[in-house]
């Protein structure tokens, strides 16, 4: 998410990076930063304040005389961005918070959550997502369908509740009012005894609609919800701040959830909500399915905005998903150059568990741009195909790929539903990779990261290269890149010699 801001800022900051830093080009750079923020829908005033603060600090003498001024400026922009997003730029360690504490769920007794937001922001879906998260953590939850306005909103919540096994309290929309539904819903939850969280799904509204805002205030008064949460569409433009303000004035919001950030939305205006209202962002919605919700991390987001990637999230995920013994084993083998196709397959499976490859790549610094290369290519399908190829080999073949001759190759291709040229390519790629891995595994962690980024850089300079190319190739089989390059080189050398002779 927020790629828009990322790209824009990267462009703006690379301008500063060039040449010597003068007061004039800081100002020019800041103008570009501001433009990038505005294009990303950051609120006009917030963007203005932001650049003013940054340039004030940047123009100071300390920066100009420092060794790497541009780095320092990026530091300032980062810190300001983290603050803008509601985080603490000095916090080094991240302490994971549970869903319950993020939502302010009380240790004992029942907590009432009231969800509100504009029409179509994704309230009902978000209700379902939160209920699923809570339920997973063993917190009994009940949903209350208080949106009597949109046709079939009740149906939608019922269906969602059914999917996750959470009870849904409903009333006949013709014979009831939203306030009544909420009151009765809370009563019903109390009666049920073991329900710890009640989520009220209120009707969507336009912030300026006085009548509906009054209704919200009534629910607020009668049911006294412990938490009022605003659901906002990340695609909202300059108006995001207005509506957030209106809701905040009516209800005193406790948190904001940003939805639909899985698109290419820049999400800038939503960032300004925090700056203008002071209400913290708590979760982000990342998809239509019920799993699509994640806690919001200001620092990570800021570093992602600056193109720094989101290594922390990836590491956290990796630690959870990877088998430490297996990793160690694989690493030892790599170092010794004994890494086989079988090990390769295992590693692939582990990476697979991290989620879609494209998302994983986005989190690695420097690879974000690569993940955007060609949206038409399904990388996960490609990984799946490679898996099928390896699965179709015998154990012996996996350990000694040299043994694979034409006949074996044909068999493997038939078994995996690919063609022999693909098998050939895989084997070649693997042998190249084996060498690289041996090198990489002997480096320290920092060098290793650098190497990965270098590799990414290489792939960038040859955007159509690697795994994506197969289908366009001729039947004769893949062209050997190394050999071709060798040939080019030799040709040039020959030509040079010739020129010398002719002189």
């Amino acid at each position: 998410m927020f790629e828009g801001i990322t790209t824009g800022l990267r462009g703006a900051l690379s301008f500063i990076d060039r040449g010597r830093l003068t007061e004039a080009n800081i100002r020019e750079g800041m103008k570009q930063v501001r433009e990038a923020l505005l294009e990303a829908d950051v609120n006009y005033d917030v963007a203005k304040d932001f650049t003013a603060r940054v340039s004030e600090q940047a123009v100071g003498e300390r920066v100009l005389k420092s060794l790497r001024p541009s780095e320092q400026i990026i530091g300032i922009v980062y810190r300001e961005l983290v603050s803008l997003l509601g985080g603490d730029p000095d916090a080094r360690e991240f302490t994971p918070e549970s869903t319950a504490s993020l939502l302010g769920i009380k240790r004992d007794g029942m907590t009432v959550l009231m969800m509100c937001g504009l029409q179509g922001s994704g309230k009902t879906t978000t209700c379902g997502k939160l209920a699923r998260l809570l339920q997973r953590d063993g917190v009994r939850t009940m949903l209350v369908a208080a949106d009597l306005q949109r046709p079939a909103a009740i149906e939608q919540l019922k269906t969602l509740g059914g999917q996750i096994g959470v009870p849904v309290y409903t009333e006949d929309p013709a014979a009831s009012t939203p306030v009544q539904v909420c009151q009765n819903g809370v009563k019903a939850a109390k009666k049920a005894g073991d329900v710890r969280v009640v989520i009220l799904d209120t009707a969507g509204r336009l912030a300026i609609d006085e009548q509906l805002m009054r209704e919200l205030r009534q629910i607020d008064n009668k049911c006294a919800p412990d938490q009022a949460v605003l659901v906002t569409d990340a695609m909202t433009g300059q108006d995001a701040v207005n509506s957030a303000k209106a809701f905040n004035e009516a209800l005193e919001l406790d948190g904001v959830i940003l939805t639909k950030i899985d698109g290419d939305t820049r999400g800038g205006a939503a960032l300004s909500i925090k700056a203008v209202t002071g209400v913290p962002l708590k979760f982000v919605g990342t998809g239509e399915t019920l799993e699509g919700i994640e806690p919001f991390h200001p620092d990570r987001m800021a570093s992602r905005i600056l193109g720094g990637g989101d290594i922390a999230t990836l590491l956290e995920k990796a630690q959870r998903e990877f088998d430490a013994d297996e990793m160690e084993d694989a690493q030892r083998k790599m170092a010794e150059g004994r890494f086989t196709l079988d090990d390769f397959r295992k590693q692939m499976q582990m990476i697979n568990r991290l989620g879609p490859l494209r998302n994983v790549m986005k989190m690695i610094p420097g690879m974000g741009a690569m993940a955007e290369l060609d949206p038409g290519i399904d990388m996960d399908k490609e990984v799946h195909r490679i898996g099928a190829m390896i699965d179709s080999m015998t154990l012996d073949e996996r350990r000694n790929p040299d043994r694979i001759d034409r006949s074996r190759r044909n068999r493997i291709a038939a078994g995996s539903g690919t063609n022999p040229a693909d098998i050939n390519k895989l084997l070649k790629d693997f042998s190249v990779m084996g060498g690289m891995m041996q090198g990489v595994s002997q480096m320290g962690m920092k060098d290793r990261l650098k190497a990965v980024q270098q590799m990414a850089g290489q792939a960038m300079s040859n955007p159509s290269g690697r795994m994506m190319q197969q289908k366009q190739r001729s039947k004769r089989g893949p062209l050997d890149e190394l050999k071709a390059r060798e040939k080019e080189k030799r040709k040039k050398k020959e030509a040079k010699k010739q020129r010398k002779k002719n002189r």
Binding site: G4, E35, L38, E39, A40, D41, Y44, D45, K48, L118, Q119, G120, S121, G122, Q149, R150, P151, A152, A153, I154, E155, Q156, K158, T159, L160, Q163, L206, A207, I208, D233, M235, T236, G237, Q238, D239, A240, N242, S243, A246, K260, D262, G263, D264, T265, R266, G268, A269, E288, P375, G376
Partner: protein, 312 residues
């Protein structure tokens, strides 16, 4: 019918709060300087029209008026003309407010197919209901195809509307291929001899490649069944949408061949300026605006009214 009245009513409240007008910024008799221009740019950006469009207008003002004494009429005339140019392109998108069906390319010699698409939660289904009402009120027989087989209860939502409006509706099972629903809708259109088929689709983010491909398939299926279908492909955009609207329009145009935009939820505080950015880059006109939650809160887009309502 009071599109403009309602529209302005909604905006009246904001006007009172913000009390903004060009007159507050550029005072007659004063000399136009850079500070004023910058403040004005901020006002333009706040409508979501984007930095590029705002920059264009400010550049024009700078060229014509900077350093001179402000003549209010001239200044607002320049702004309005520039905005109208940005919105109308070659003028082909000026519609007759008296004839609510004038923006639609209805076929004279056979049934018309209208495909409606957009991202999640922009108000597609509601817009379809409003459009059906409009068509019905003007003597057209409408068949609806509930192609949103993904979101829970989306089909029910459209069915409810169909019931209220007395339209025929073709439905699919949850999770069914939307193309199959569209296909059956087109069959029903031909069999029943109705005038217009409106095909609803599930909301999708424009970055979801496979879902965009699915939309393309719906279009192909319709084209196979009815000649030249879809005759109208309407993209619904939420008026609160920011610059992402550009990306939405680009991607949806590729997949669904958009012929027009419905700007929904224009009755809030948002001004829908993003359509200016869209029109600046692409030749897709705004055809209708949704101005409220009632079934009749739907009107033909009118450039002059829109520019006035931007209140800059």
């Amino acid at each position: 019918m009071g599109f403009f009245d309602q529209f302005r009513q909604g905006l009246e409240k904001t006007r009172k709060v913000l009390n903004t007008d060009v007159r507050d910024l550029f005072k007659a008799g004063e000399i136009l300087d850079e500070t004023q221009l910058e403040a004005f740019e901020g006002r333009l950006v706040r409508t979501d029209m984007g930095v590029a469009a705002a920059g264009e207008i400010v550049a024009e003002l700078r060229k014509n008026f900077e350093g001179r004494t402000v003549k209010l009429d001239e200044v607002s005339e320049t702004i309005n003309r520039k905005l109208r140019d940005l919105l109308e392109g070659d003028g082909s998108s000026r519609y007759d407010a008296e004839d609510p069906l004038s923006p639609l390319r209805l076929r004279a010699d056979g049934p018309t197919v209208i495909l409606v698409s957009g991202v999640n939660g922009v108000g597609k289904t509601t817009s379809i209901a409003k459009l059906s009402k409009l068509l019905k009120d003007n003597g057209k027989r409408v068949v609806l195809a509930a192609g949103d087989t993904f979101r829970a209860a989306a089909v029910e939502q459209l069915t409810l509307w169909a019931g209220r409006l007395g339209c025929e509706i073709v439905r699919g099972e949850p999770g069914a291929d939307p193309a199959s629903v569209a296909h059956r809708g087109a069959e029903r259109l031909i069999d029943s001899g109705a005038d217009v088929l409106i095909v609803d689709t599930a909301g999708r983010l424009q970055t979801q490649k496979n879902l965009m491909d699915q939309l393309d398939k719906v279009r192909r299926v319709l084209a196979k069944k009815v000649e030249g279908a879809p005759h109208e492909s309407l993209l619904v955009i939420d008026a609160t949408t920011g610059q992402n609207g550009l990306s939405q329009t680009k991607s949806f145009s590729e997949a669904a061949g958009c012929t027009g935009i419905v700007l929904a939820k224009l009755d809030g505080t948002a001004k829908g300026g993003v359509v200016i950015a869209i029109r600046r880059q692409m030749a897709i006109p705004v055809k209708y605006v949704g101005v409220g939650e009632g079934i009749d809160d739907f009107a033909v887009f009118n450039t002059n009214e829109f520019v006035r309502a931007l209140e800059i």
